[in-house]
Amino acid sequence: MCFKNLPVEFDADGKPFLREDVGNPYALDGAPATNGGPTTLTRDKIEELLERNGHIEQKNFDPVTRVAGALAFHTVVDTTAKKVMDARSVATLFRGYEVIMMGRDPRDAIFITSRACGVCGGVHSTTSALAIEMACGVKPPPLGTVMRNLLLAIEYLYDNPLHLFLLAGPDYSEAIVSKTNPELFRRAEQTHAPHSNVHGYSTIADIMRDLNPLEGSLYLEALGMTRVAREAYVLIGGKYPHPQTIVPGGISATVSLSTLNEIYIRIQKFFDYGKRVAAIYDDICDFFYDADPRYRDVGRTSANLIDLGQWDDPDAYDATYENAGAWGERRWATPGVIIDGKQVTTNLQHINLGLEEFVDHSFYEDWAGDGVRHKTDPLGAPLSPYHPWNKSTRPRPGATNWREKYTWATSPRWDRQAMDAEASARLWNTAVAQKIPSNPYIEATGHSLKMLVPAGRLPEMELEWHVPDVWNAFERNRGRAYCVSYTSMVALNLWSKASELMKAGQSAVSTKFEVPKKGGQLGVGFWGAGRGYLSHHLELDSGVVTNYQIITPSTINASPRDAWDTPGKYEEAVLNTPILETGAGAYQGIDVLRAIRSFDPCMPCTTHIHSDAGVVTREINTCACGVD
């Protein structure tokens, strides 16, 4: 039984069905059972406290810097108790890729939806290709699947270091820490770095100095590594960030052994780099915990994580919804849902059934009153009226009102619970499921993920990421740091598979197909961005798109409160964050910012900006962001 809120149960054969004893199974009355979460005050109470108490102040971060795109964050802080009393995540821009896709040939989606993001265009292209493959019934040849996998692994190798050292890293640098918590930096100067034999830094302060933005060698090295990843990426994708070669049915690039060699030269540069990145973040996280255990509460949320898995087994993937449960579990990253630290499913169909999207506090109109287009999925299992296949995107701009609507992000939920979409979710699900294909480099133990990383300049090393006992800002970053090695080892496996296929003469990379011109079809792309979960749900009718819905990791994490006033994950993380800043200067909000940035927010993906009056730019942005 994986659902505790939705009235969906499973028969003896494991087939989902709707409980018959529930009159209105998807009614919004009655708060769902959630596993904890912060106590929240009503907005009226907050306003009253603000009026009566001088030490309770509004602290706004607009924009939140060092995140992709436009995110604002509103907090109300008790400056005496050093506690956040209210937190609201605000996606300030609107975009409507869902609207743009309506009425188009589905093949346009691979190029149009790529533009949803200036970092992770390839994952949007791929996820749309997967959705189209399902709707059109086309299966790529093995090398097409493997090369697509490899392209996306490389994209993660661009994305994760970028976040760790260019966006989040400065939060732990000398430049920031010496200002916000000088006593902590003094302690860092006296603290030996336990992994100095791996990363080469004697003290924690030495690491912090090299995390300094613009000048620190870790910052500059990460800039260099983004180049290495981009060079590998364009060998398959043609260009970055919007690849030209991802197509439904495989890829459209010619792959040779020379291409593979060129890719290997670049992937292997991440072997040593991944060892050092994990060691650096291990030392940083543990230093903060040792210095003050309250850092374990910075960005803390309930351990509810969702991931759709990535990197298909070419022998298992057949692009059908019918077999999604089986081919999903054969992926190099296992799909799954973690609730309160426990995995409740790894079945993609079941994950799909639990998805709903709410707009109670978002600048959109509800659509559920118009009737349900799909009461069941293609296998006859029950679907909510709020499921993406039933959703309509109806923008309704308005003034910000904390009691009502305040953001362009929506509230995706799984089994009516707020979820965290994370790079680490793929580690966690893969580690505990123990379903990863047998291979020489990665082992899932049930409580950890071991990675045997080959020698470079550093010797061969076994890294081990452990399922954390607390889920917070530090563990999100630590997990992302281990993802560099995990991804590079997946890439190495994929590279070996591609080489085998080439040697065996299986060099076909795409399958021809026709878009059905009659009838209706449903498709869904289950995948993930570097930062986590990504799904594209589409519906075709007579050969054109009649519904297209994108849910990104940041849509999930940046979500506002839902129909039951349950905060989204950024909000929950900030509500749980103690204010530990001690610096004598102006309030920096570093603890709150660490909490938010640990999610690796990507707001262009979140809000899919578009304006009927034309696409406008926020200074000019590849995401074609527009202000409504």
């Binding site: 970092v119 034309g614 200074e619 000019i620």
Partner: protein
């Protein structure tokens, strides 16, 4: 013996009205023959990647002219030409520009700030901006911007053909 090369770089978005001015100009310039001392490039991509490209041969360009469209509330369709004189952007500004660049923002301003910080721009760098008339979806520039493409093309051609690559001229406006 290496020759000194002038870089003409367009920055902008395709299919976005006059915001496509830079790439459109590059497209037009590429249909003509140019001496080997002139490089025409569309640099409408992540400024960090542009910096990587410049870093590969840092002495290649002795001068650069970047062309783009930026809405600054001036007369629509007006052209504005100026030297890029880095006014010492703060470390925070540079950091914000890097963060914007690696997460996908294409912007001449970011390119100039980042290029200056990493000392990769030619010592003589000029900027030509058009104040956009249109910024909506679709192909083609506004009629005014179309004329401006021709004007800038003629101006650059004349300058290159005459060999007068003096950039020691004051910032000017062509309305």
């Amino acid at each position: 013996m290496s020759i000194e090369v002038l870089l003409i770089g367009g920055v902008g978005y395709t299919y976005l009205g006059d915001l496509s001015f830079g790439p459109t100009l590059v497209e037009r310039l590429r249909t003509r023959d140019w001496p080997s001392s002139v490089a025409i490039e569309d640099v409408s991509y992540n400024p960090i990647t542009v910096m990587d490209w410049l870093r590969d041969d840092p002495q290649r360009f002795h001068r650069a002219v970047f062309v783009t469209a930026v809405a600054r509330g001036r007369e629509p369709g007006s052209l504005h030409r100026s030297h890029w004189r880095p006014a010492g952007p703060s470390a925070d500004q540079v950091q914000d520009s890097v963060a914007a660049a690696v997460t996908g923002t294409i912007s001449l301003e970011n390119l100039l700030i980042i290029g200056s910080h990493f000392e990769l721009l030619p010592a003589e760098t000029e900027v030509i901006e058009i104040e956009p008339v249109t910024s909506g979806w679709g192909e083609g520039l506004s009629a005014v911007a179309e004329r401006r493409v021709s004007e800038v093309t003629a101006w650059l051609s004349a300058e290159i053909e005459s060999g007068s690559e003096s950039v020691a001229r004051p910032a000017s406006t062509m309305s």
